[in-house]
Amino acid sequence: MTDISMSDHAVTGKTAPPAEARSMRLPTQWLGVAPFFIFAIMFLILPTLYLMLGAFQNEAGEFTFENIAALAQPSIIAAYWISIKVSLASSLIGAFAGLAIAIAIVRGGLPEWIRSATLTFSGVASNFAGVPLAFAFLATLGRLGLATVILNTLFGLNIYAHGFNILSFWGLTLTYVYFQIPLMVVIIVPAIDGLKKEWGEAAATLGATMAQYWRMVVIPVIWPSFLGTVILLFANAFGAIATAYALTGSSLNIVPILLYAQIRGDVLHNAHLGYAIAFGMIFITGLANVFYIWFRTRSERWLK
């Protein structure tokens, strides 16, 4: 017994580099990560916790579910509902279109330059969001936008007469897709690259048709990272405000715009209701991300 502990001690004593000497350990061990943790706690975790706790308190600071219950008023439910619809539609459209483009450029036999050009452009477009994106779509599909005018003069199709409006659910969804598709392409291309050629050859050797190869090899392997990315896109759209605000002003009442108005001017006349709205947003994006992390850990098993 004593023998083992003695030799153990001797070994650690011998291999420890000078900096790991006991007297130095405590301060240096934590000093390097201290700024990071202090920053994260002060400016990320505490402010969020403050709002989350505030959502369960009344003006007097007592615990209550009133604020959460007050979210059930029609205007707030409508805001959450349209936000969820826009986020869901834009993430699903973005995901499937992004997947199709990714498969086309990786597996479609297109020239190599198309792949690299698409990836570069995707990097740019996935970061081209916010106010300028709204301007671009107003110039395209606004009442005087180029696409609107061309459709009208060349094809006699007045999209506004047919009920289209850039300041609507579909207008906003179509705009969000502009950064959702490239984000999907950027994330999913490595996953498609991870499909090993040998798997296709193995499937072919075993007599699989192309359809069987896709159904039984490709889709099961890509599925988790695809679904995970859909969720990331959902959260991405759900928290976005600048594009919608610049595009529609406050005519389309999505949750971030409602919260923005509440922070600016307490339009709901109840400060703690604002906390509850913030709590609801974190709850929804948080839930989405729990699924994301779960799917990602599942998908990474195949991409080694």
Binding site: I101, L110, G123
Partner: protein, 263 residues
């Protein structure tokens, strides 16, 4: 295989159309300011606007401070986790992902409530304090990208050997980080920096709610009040984003590649 290629081209063409039509339309719209002919008048008006110059300058400055703050927080932490505290990695990775979960508007709402003028830490009581809070907020937004960039950079170098070699030569921790580690991950840090710049330069939510004279709120204001200038600004913003991404790509060609991850 033939039909597969046809479908690939079709998908690519449709995607290209969706992505290029708005750009073409925006360029076209931005040049329509003078009646009956194309001109660059909108760009002249925008670039000559004193408020454009002031807000753009403000946002560039905010971006520079954000990058400095981000580097100061992320580089030592990422280095130290690789060297000594690998058991903290999951926690730190989780924290760096939080800004993707918590919307920016919620983070800034928390700041406004927590750091108001009559709180123990009254950031919002002074102009300088509010500016600092904006930079801090931007640093949290950039945290996921900065951390990933730096961590990827650190993965390609042998942190332990470099550190021990520097220690044998008598270097202290400050020297090791600034003169050994940082130069080795400089390209990764710069990639993170340009991405941060692209995110921060037109950011609207935080700047607007903190009442800062930044570029994002200016863009929004112009969009609400003018016709052709917004299109010109959109093209300028697209060019800036493009520039940042190109710089990252050019830099990545100089990045060292480790033996175990050739790509």
């Amino acid at each position: 295989m033939k039909s597969g290629k046809f479908w690939a081209w079709l998908v690519f063409a449709l995607g290209a159309a969706y992505f290029f039509i708005p750009l073409i339309a925006t360029v076209e719209f931005s040049m329509r300011m003078r009646r009956g002919e194309y001109s660059f008048d909108a760009y002249k008006v925008v670039l000559g606007d004193a408020r454009f110059q002031a807000t753009f300058g403000y946002s560039v400055l905010a971006a520079v401070f954000t990058i400095i703050l981000g580097v100061l927080i992320v580089v030592p932490a990422a280095y130290w986790i690789r060297l000594r505290l690998p058991q903290l990695r999951p926690i730190v990775e989780f924290i760096t992902l939080l800004p993707l979960v918590i919307p920016a508007i919620v983070i800034v709402f928390g700041y406004i409530r927590m750091y108001g003028s009559n709180s123990p830490l009254p950031f919002l009581a002074t102009d300088t304090g509010t500016n600092a809070l904006l930079v801090i907020g931007y640093a949290t937004l950039a945290l996921p990208y900065m951390y990933r960039a730096v961590d990827t950079g650190l993965r390609t170098i042998d942190v332990r050997t470099l550190t021990e070699a520097a220690q044998i030569l008598g270097a202290g921790w400050g020297t090791i980080i600034t003169r050994v580690i940082l130069p080795n991950v400089l390209i990764a840090v710069l990639s993170g920096a340009f991405l941060t710049f692209a995110i921060v330069i037109g950011e609207f939510t935080m700047a607007s709610l903190l009442n800062r004279p930044a570029f994002g709120p200016y863009l929004q204001n112009i969009g609400a009040n003018r016709a052709y200038e917004p299109a010109a600004l959109a093209i300028i913003a697209f060019a800036i984003t493009w520039g940042c991404m190109s710089l990252i790509q050019i830099l990545s060609r100089f990045a060292p590649r480790s033996a175990n991850r050739p790509n």
